[in-house]
C-alpha cells in the first residue's frame, strides 16, 4: 500500500469512530490503534487476575459462611472478567500466553492498587466499596469505546463491578453498625485504602501521556482529574452514611464548584508502586509466576492428552 492509500484508510477509520461506529476485529485498523488497545486491554485483564490475590487472601478466613460464599463468588467474577478481557484482546492478534509472558517479565503492568496488602477483614469491604467503586468510574465510559469486543466486554464487567461495590459497602455498613472494635477496623481500612484508591484514577492530567489520542479513540472520555473528582464527590457522602472519617484534613465542600476540595496526593508513593516497589509487588508477581511455573506440567499434560486422543481417532478412522 502506498502512503497515500494508508492515509486514506486512516481518515476513513477516524471518521467511522467519530460517527460512533464500532471497530471490529476483521476491520482494517492503524497499527498504533492495535498496539494501544493491546496494551490497555491486556493491562486491564492482568489487573483482574492479579486482583484475585488480595481478596483470595481472605477466603479461608471469612468471618461467616454467607461472607465466604459472597467473597468466593466475587473473586470468581474477577477471574471471569480476566477471561473475557483476555479473549477480547486475543482478537487483536496476540495470544494469551504472550500476554502472560509480558506480565511475568514485568513488561505489562497491572493496576497498582493490588500491590497493597489485605491485612484485616475490613479490607474486603474497603476494596469492594472503594476499589471496585473507582474501577467503575474508570470503566463505565469504556462501555462506549470504539473497539467492539472491548466495549461489549466492559458492559458485562461493569454490571458485575457495581454489584461488587454494593457488596463491599454492605460489608463496611455491617462493621460500622457493629461493635466499637468492628467500627475501628472499618475506619482503619478506609485510612489505608483511601489514598491508593484516588491514585487508581491515574496521574494528574499534567503528567498523563497518550490522553489526546485516547480521547479520539474513546479509550478515554474524561481526564484523570475529572474522574478523580467524580469519585470523591460520589464517595464522601457514602462515608458519611457509614459514619467514617475520610483521612484527608483538607477535604471540604466547595460551594462554588459544587464539588469537594481535597488534599495533595503523594505522587512519590504512586510512582514508587508503579515502578515495582510497592509493599506487595514482589509477592504478587511471585504468586502469579509461581502459579504459572507450577502449572506447566499440568498444561503440557492436557496438551499431550488431546494430541493422543486425536491420534487414536485418526488411527480408528483409517
Amino acid at each position: 500500500m502506498s502512503d497515500e492509500q494508508i492515509k486514506n484508510l486512516e481518515e476513513q477509520f477516524e471518521a467511522r469512530i467519530a460517527r460512533d461506529e464500532k471497530i471490529e476485529p476483521k476491520d482494517w485498523m492503524p497499527e498504533k490503534y492495535r498496539q494501544t488497545h493491546i496494551r490497555q486491554m491486556s493491562q486491564h485483564a492482568h489487573s483482574e487476575i492479579v486482583g484475585m490475590l488480595p481478596e483470595g487472601n481472605w477466603i479461608t478466613r471469612a468471618p461467616s459462611l454467607r461472607r465466604k460464599v459472597a467473597l468466593l463468588a466475587k473473586v470468581q467474577d474477577e477471574a471471569g472478567h480476566g477471561l473475557y478481557l483476555y479473549s477480547a484482546t486475543e482478537t487483536l492478534g496476540i495470544s494469551r500466553d504472550e500476554m502472560y509472558e509480558q506480565l511475568h517479565t514485568g513488561k505489562a503492568k497491572y493496576s497498582s492498587i493490588f500491590n497493597y496488602p489485605t491485612i484485616t477483614w475490613a479490607d474486603m469491604g474497603a476494596i469492594g466499596w472503594l476499589v471496585d467503586g473507582a474501577a467503575i468510574i474508570n470503566q463505565v465510559p469504556l462501555c462506549n469505546t470504539s473497539y467492539g469486543p472491548y466495549a461489549r466486554a466492559m458492559i458485562r464487567v461493569c454490571k458485575e463491578e457495581s454489584f461488587h461495590q454494593r457488596q463491599g459497602f454492605e460489608i463496611m455498613l455491617k462493621l460500622c453498625n457493629g461493635t466499637p472494635e468492628q467500627k475501628e477496623m472499618a475506619q482503619d481500612a478506609l485510612n489505608r485504602w483511601w489514598w491508593p484508591s484516588l491514585m487508581m484514577l491515574g496521574p494528574t492530567d499534567a503528567e498523563s501521556i497518550h490522553t489526546e489520542q485516547s480521547m479520539k479513540w474513546k479509550l478515554k472520555r474524561k481526564s484523570n482529574d475529572d474522574l478523580r473528582q467524580q469519585f470523591i464527590d460520589q464517595t464522601v457522602p457514602q462515608a458519611d452514611i457509614l459514619g467514617l472519617t475520610i483521612p484527608d484534613q483538607d477535604l471540604k465542600w466547595n460551594e462554588e464548584r459544587g464539588s469537594y476540595d481535597f488534599g495533595e496526593i503523594d505522587w512519590d508513593e504512586f510512582w514508587q508502586v508503579v515502578k515495582g516497589h510497592g509493599p506487595m509487588n514482589r509477592e504478587r508477581m511471585k504468586a502469579r509466576v509461581g502459579a504459572w511455573e507450577r502449572g506447566e506440567w499440568v498444561r503440557d499434560a492436557a496438551m499431550a492428552y488431546v494430541e493422543k486422543k486425536q491420534e487414536r481417532k485418526e488411527k480408528q478412522a483409517v
Partner: protein, 278 residues
C-alpha cells in the same frame, strides 16, 4: 360420681412418664439427625475450605475458575445443611456457630477431604475420589424420608455431577498425558487411596438414620464405588492401588495433623471477635 384423688395422681404420673419417654425419643432422634447432618456437611465444609485455598493459584485461569466454583458450590451446600441443623438443635446455635465454633475433635469429616493441596495431581485425585462417592451418596439421599435432606440432595446433585465430570476429566488428562503427569497422578492416587475406605464406614447416627429411612446406607455404595473408580483409573492408564491398609478416624473426630491448621484459619475471625455479626 366421686373422684379418687389417688387415681388422678397415678394417671397424671403415667402421662408424664409417657411424655417424658416420647420427648427422650424425639431428642434422641433429633440428636442422631443433627449428627447425621454434620457428618454430611463437614465433608463439604472441609473440602470447600481446601479448594478455597487455591483461588488465584491454579495452573490455568479456567481451572482456577472451576476450583473456585467447586468451593462455592460446596459452601452453598454447607449453608443449607447447617441452617437445617441449626433448626434441629433449636438452641440458638447459628449456621456459623456450627461451622466455626466446634473443637477439633467435634468435626467429623472423612480424612480424605482434609488432605492438603500438595500439587494439582493431589488436588484433582482428592476431588475425584470424593466426587464419585459424593454423587452416589446424593443420588441415594434424594430418596430420604426427610424432605429437607432430600431437597438439598436434589439441588446438590447437579453441582456435584459437574464436579465429578471435571475431576474425572483431569484424572484422565494427567494419567494419560505425559510421563511426568502420569507419575504425579499415580503418586497422588497411591497416597490418597488409604483414605477411601473410610467413606463407607457407618457411625451410630448413620445406623440410626438408615433405620428411620432418613439416612443412606453407605456400605451398599462401596462395591460400585471401587468398580467405577478402578475403571476410570484404568482408562487413565493408572494402576489401581493394591494396598489393603486403610486409615480411619475422621468420622469419630480423630483427624490427621492437617485439620487443626485448617480450623485455625476457618475459625480465626469467630474466635478472635466472639459474638459479633459480619
Amino acid at each position: 360420681m366421686s373422684i379418687d384423688r389417688d387415681e388422678i395422681e397415678i394417671s397424671l404420673k403415667a402421662r408424664c412418664e409417657a411424655i417424658r419417654k416420647v420427648s427422650i425419643e424425639v431428642n434422641m432422634k433429633n440428636e442422631n439427625l443433627y449428627n447425621y447432618i454434620l457428618g454430611i456437611a463437614d465433608n463439604s465444609l472441609i473440602l470447600g475450605q481446601r479448594m478455597g485455598e487455591l483461588c488465584g493459584h491454579g495452573p490455568t485461569l479456567e481451572t482456577d475458575i472451576a476450583c473456585t466454583n467447586i468451593s462455592l458450590d460446596l459452601f452453598g451446600q454447607v449453608r443449607s445443611y447447617f441452617q437445617y441443623a441449626s433448626k434441629i438443635a433449636g438452641d440458638g446455635r447459628t449456621e456459623d456457630d456450627i461451622a466455626m465454633l466446634r473443637k477439633e475433635r467435634e468435626y467429623i469429616n472423612v480424612l480424605l477431604v482434609e488432605q492438603p493441596n500438595t500439587d494439582f495431581a493431589y488436588t484433582m485425585a482428592r476431588q475425584f475420589l470424593f466426587d464419585v462417592y459424593h454423587l452416589a451418596f446424593l443420588v441415594e439421599l434424594q430418596k430420604s424420608a426427610d424432605l429437607t435432606l432430600s431437597a438439598i440432595a436434589s439441588k446438590s446433585i447437579k453441582e456435584v455431577s459437574y464436579h465429578e465430570r471435571f475431576s474425572s476429566d483431569w484424572v484422565k488428562r494427567l494419567g494419560d498425558g505425559t510421563e511426568e503427569s502420569n507419575t504425579k497422578m499415580q503418586e497422588a492416587i497411591d497416597a490418597l487411596w488409604t483414605y477411601t475406605d473410610e467413606l463407607f464406614h457407618q457411625t451410630e447416627a448413620d445406623k440410626a438414620m438408615v433405620a428411620e429411612g432418613i439416612g443412606v446406607d453407605v456400605t451398599k455404595l462401596k462395591d460400585s464405588y471401587y468398580r467405577h473408580v478402578s475403571e476410570l483409573l484404568e482408562e487413565a492408564t493408572l494402576q489401581v492401588p493394591e494396598s489393603k491398609y486403610f486409615q480411619k478416624g475422621g468420622k469419630e473426630g480423630i483427624h490427621t495433623e492437617h485439620l487443626g491448621y485448617m480450623l485455625a484459619e476457618l475459625q480465626y475471625m469467630q474466635r478472635t471477635y466472639p459474638n459479633m455479626e459480619w
